[in-house]
Symmetry: C2
Subunit: 288 residues, 2 copies
DNA sequence: CGCCAATTTGAGTCCCATCAATATTTGTGG
DNA sequence: CCACAAATATTGATGGGACTCAAATTGGCG
């Protein structure tokens, strides 16, 4: 967090830089080249890139450490290499509002570009290894490698789409559906990272989950218990097992205990009749 | 309410282009140059730009017309020059979820960059004049004018921040606060466009407002009536007057209906007034 | 004028927040 | 290593805010 000035030099001056690198390595820092960063972001690396041309510094954060603050002058983007993070707003009353739970491959700080000050706060949920991307380097790369500019727009567009999905979820779904989707989404993320998408443990508190989903921590806890009793998941503290991902994904609301069986029949009946072509936007618009 | 587009004067230099332009003009098309587009987006125009170098076509949409669909192949961005638009998601059950109400100076279609297909639907709420920006032109401009690339990142970042604010609002505020903020935000938008920020009329239905805010149309209607009775606004159908913007902005939750109706609730009323000077954020949090 | 969409308003219900008590886990220092 | 404190989770009881269902009214438009 301290000497960011040294890393804004894209080109490495071998003699001096290698000394510094050794020093950084001792405190847990590493360097990644452009190809590695692109792979992490799941975007195609420019063929023209020289692996040693541009290097990006790693920085480690311990659980609980703040990565950037609201209002802080913006100059670098962060890419999560390992570990778990939360980003949040703090409203005029001091209440925290969790906005996202970035993990491996996610990028932080984009919201700072607009006003050149970070618009959100980022805090490490676990020990993290973050890659620093000075914004100036970021912008310069777009001009050097045309394909990269396209990829950078794509990454920002993806973030916008993700937030749109979040808005839809927040304003349309019941508490049970929110929690169910949260778990399945998390599972998919873990799968992509090479871990089990079925069995994992949460890195965040019920409070943080509730804030993220627009619920209270008690409702989150109760909902997890309910999903547990219904056999869709098993949960003990932060240890989660997804037992019926299909049911979780299609869950809209937990029917009142008396009618639970009936509604389940209805849904399956509709699906069988092809009236609910789920998760296919093309078809659902055709219905109108 | 209709034709604001006198500011876009087509410049013609080529013979072929002028023929086409005449044809387009007959169906209501005009052209804007890069400088005019930048002004509309409120970003600095590159000094190196030749006014005749790149021209952007206008297209008019009538109220109710669709501008782009979900899943449609993405190739152009749209900038609102005049008129009002709504963008929306359609979930797997066919329910509409309004995402934004773009107006003059707003950009549409960014969500299509990621997958090269639009992720949302855009519909004109009134007659509209839209400027077409082919995505290829957009990308090429960033490479030609370095300042523009920065501005384009900034515009996308601004969109991300806007959606973050939306997420915070959806998950933390009461129905009254949502409606109140919606109105004050609209007022500010109208002010920026040169209209009255105090007195305006809504271009969208209660249904659409409710979808946008995560409420039902009945709740929106009831809330507007309540704000009307409290003297914060006056509302008749879609005609809105903001009478106390300060109160609206700081509104968290309406006092319980009992306290409003029971005029002669003696001591308790006074106590409530002292302890709960409603729509005063400072004090109401101090109580918590 | 007549039709249909939009809006308003009412009555009843339920989901979720709130308040509260307890249990369990984590962290810390002696 | 244990004890104690603080943080985190679970579970219950209760009330209220927003949804649902329903009816009446208004306004727009062919």
């Amino acid at each position: 967090m301290s000497n960011l000035s040294t890393l804004s030099q894209p080109k490495r001056n071998v003699d001096i830089a290698s000394q510094q690198e050794t020093a950084w390595r001792q405190q847990g820092s590493l360097w990644s080249n452009l190809r590695q960063v692109c792979e992490l972001l799941a975007i195609p690396a420019p063929a023209t890139a020289d692996d040693e041309d541009t290097l990006f510094q790693h920085v480690r954060y311990k659980a609980g450490q703040r990565i950037h603050r609201i209002g802080q002058a913006f100059d670098t983007l962060y890419i999560v290499n390992s570990g778990f993070v939360k980003t949040l707003h703090i409203d005029e009353f001091g209440n925290e509002q969790v906005l996202s739970f970035p993990m491996k491959g996610d990028i932080l700080g984009i919201d700072g570009i607009h006003k050149q000050h970070y618009a959100s706060e980022a805090v490490a949920l676990s020990d993290c290894d973050m890659i620093l991307v000075p914004y100036k380097t970021f912008a310069a790369l777009g001009r050097i490698h045309c394909e990269l500019e396209q990829a950078m727009f794509s990454v920002m567009s993806r973030e916008i789409v993700r937030e749109q999905m979040m808005i839809s979820m927040l304003s349309a779904l019941s508490a049970e559906a929110k929690v169910a989707r949260f778990l399945t989404n998390l599972g998919e993320r873990f799968s992509q990272m090479g871990y089990s998408g079925r069995s994992f443990n949460l890195r965040m508190t019920r409070q943080e989950i509730g804030s993220y989903l627009g619920l209270t921590l008690e409702t989150v806890s109760r909902t997890l218990s309910a999903l547990n009793e219904l056999g869709m998941i098993s949960v003990e503290q932060r240890e989660i097992n997804l037992l019926d991902t299909a049911a979780l994904k299609s869950l809209r609301r937990l029917p009142p205990a008396k009618a639970r069986n009936k509604v389940a029949e209805k849904v399956t009946a509709l699906v069988n009749k092809n009236l609910l072509p789920q998760w296919n936007p093309e078809l659902s618009t055709a219905i109108n």
